[in-house]
Amino acid sequence: MRRVNKDERARIAFILNGRAVAGDAEPRLLLTDFLRHVIGATGTHVGCEHGVCGCCTVLIDGAAVRGCLTLAVQAEGRSVTTVESLASADGTLNALQNAFRQHHGLQCGFCTPGILMSFTDYLARNPHPTEDEIREVLSGHLCRCTGYAGIVAAVLAASGGAPDTSRASINEESRSQP
């Protein structure tokens, strides 16, 4: 049985973006704070800290989860993947990141790392989602800049899909009204 007392700092080790990492943590330390403050991987952002905003989304064993609702000690021995893994070593953006750039999928960028990680998992399961499916996954995130339209367009572009024209025509109509 793994047992860590409340005042004890235990050695926590896991695989982060393909590399073994380790650091010391009390049981109560959240995975988000462990990544940012102990490991120094600050790509994962911290928003609401109660699972609503989705900024802290990371992959654990390939599945997109809330970093703020996960203890560092729960990630022990697991494979954790964060936004730092997406671009190449020379800084070249991957297809999903590039689509966000092309389609105005971000403005301030605070929510972006979490959204990228959610769709990294989702597109691996469903490579050609519909617009409705994309919007459903996106419902797990809050973005205060983009109004989401750019994000949906970016994910559609990255997955080779076309925007829903019925929705687009409704937008055209509403735009043409005085």
């Binding site: 409340k6 599945a63 609702l69 203890l71 797990g140």
Partner: protein, 282 residues
């Protein structure tokens, strides 16, 4: 915010978990997916002395068909059950309800039994379990017992679980028909339901004049799921049944909605859900 300090234990077996719960009782909290518990810890609404992490217990990570029941173990995450190939055939109502549970990202970690243990009155899984007449399996060092879903949830975040007990599984009765519907009203898809309504047509129960009997479950209005059988024996039957239910259940005020809005939604959405279930091809 950050949680207060607590001890952390990750037992290697159910037996070890039960020993920890017997030792610590009320001071312990069981951690499975943590999608409700961790938020409550971060907000310091709870301050347990010790967390007992059961997420890695393989003996609890099973979905199995046991007689006329589907038994879902305490480590099974919601997305795994949602993607279970047998789900639509065996439990069509649950197949309709699971997409409303939280978000894709929280279902990747949140467990089926954790939703039942947490007992939020607006929560979809306890609502579905109660509507189908399922049961909860509880184990402690004292033994094993099963409790009907209707008796398990006692009120807002309150259940019949004793402090030394672990929910090891929940059991959903396999459905014989597939005429079901599930809808909910929430501010954003995946948020807490203001009102959630489940309906399942009972094929086995046929009345003399050919009226349909529909089992309905209502979440988010009372302090626990309300399950009723209603007889649809003519136009307006569903409307008057939900009118009566709205007064009976009263509803509650919170940050998401007033009691009055909850009652109004129940009156308007309820008959539509029953109609949708009746329209399903048998």
């Amino acid at each position: 915010m950050k949680p207060r300090r607590f001890d952390y234990a990750r037992p290697d077996s159910v037996a070890e978990a039960l020993a920890l719960l017997a030792e610590h009782g009320d001071a312990a909290r069981v951690l499975a997916g943590g999608q409700s518990l961790m938020a409550m810890l971060n907000l310091r609404l709870l301050e347990p002395a010790i967390l007992v992490d059961i997420a890695r217990l393989e003996e609890l990570d099973t979905i199995r068909i046991a007689g006329d029941m589907v038994e879902v173990g305490a480590a099974v995450i919601q997305n795994r059950l949602k993607d279970w190939p047998e789900l639509t055939a065996r439990l069509p109502l649950l197949a309709r309800a699971l997409p409303f549970v939280g978000h894709f990202q929280t279902r990747n970690r949140g467990t089926v039994c954790g939703s039942v243990a947490h007992a939020d009155p607006s929560s979809e899984i306890p609502l579905t379990l109660a509507t189908l007449g399922g049961e909860v399996v509880l184990r402690s060092r004292r033994g094993l017992r099963t409790v009907a879903a209707a008796d398990f949830q006692r009120g807002m975040l309150t259940t019949a679980r004793e402090p030394d007990e672990l929910i090891t599984a929940v059991r959903f009765p396999v459905q014989t028909g597939n005429r079901v519907a599930f809808r909910e009203v929430a501010r954003r898809h995946g948020d807490f339901a203001i009102v959630a309504i489940a309906a399942s047509v009972e094929n086995a129960v046929a009345t003399a004049r050919g009226a349909a009997v529909v089992r309905v479950g209502i979440g988010g209005v009372a302090d626990r799921p309300a399950v009723r059988r209603i007889v649809i024996d003519g136009a307006g039957a569903a409307k008057s049944a939900f009118e009566a239910l709205a007064w009976e259940l009263e509803g509650y005020d919170d940050i998401h909605a007033s009691a009055r809005l909850r009652r109004d939604l129940l009156r308007r959405v309820g008959p539509a859900v029953v109609e949708e279930a009746l329209q399903c091809a048998a």
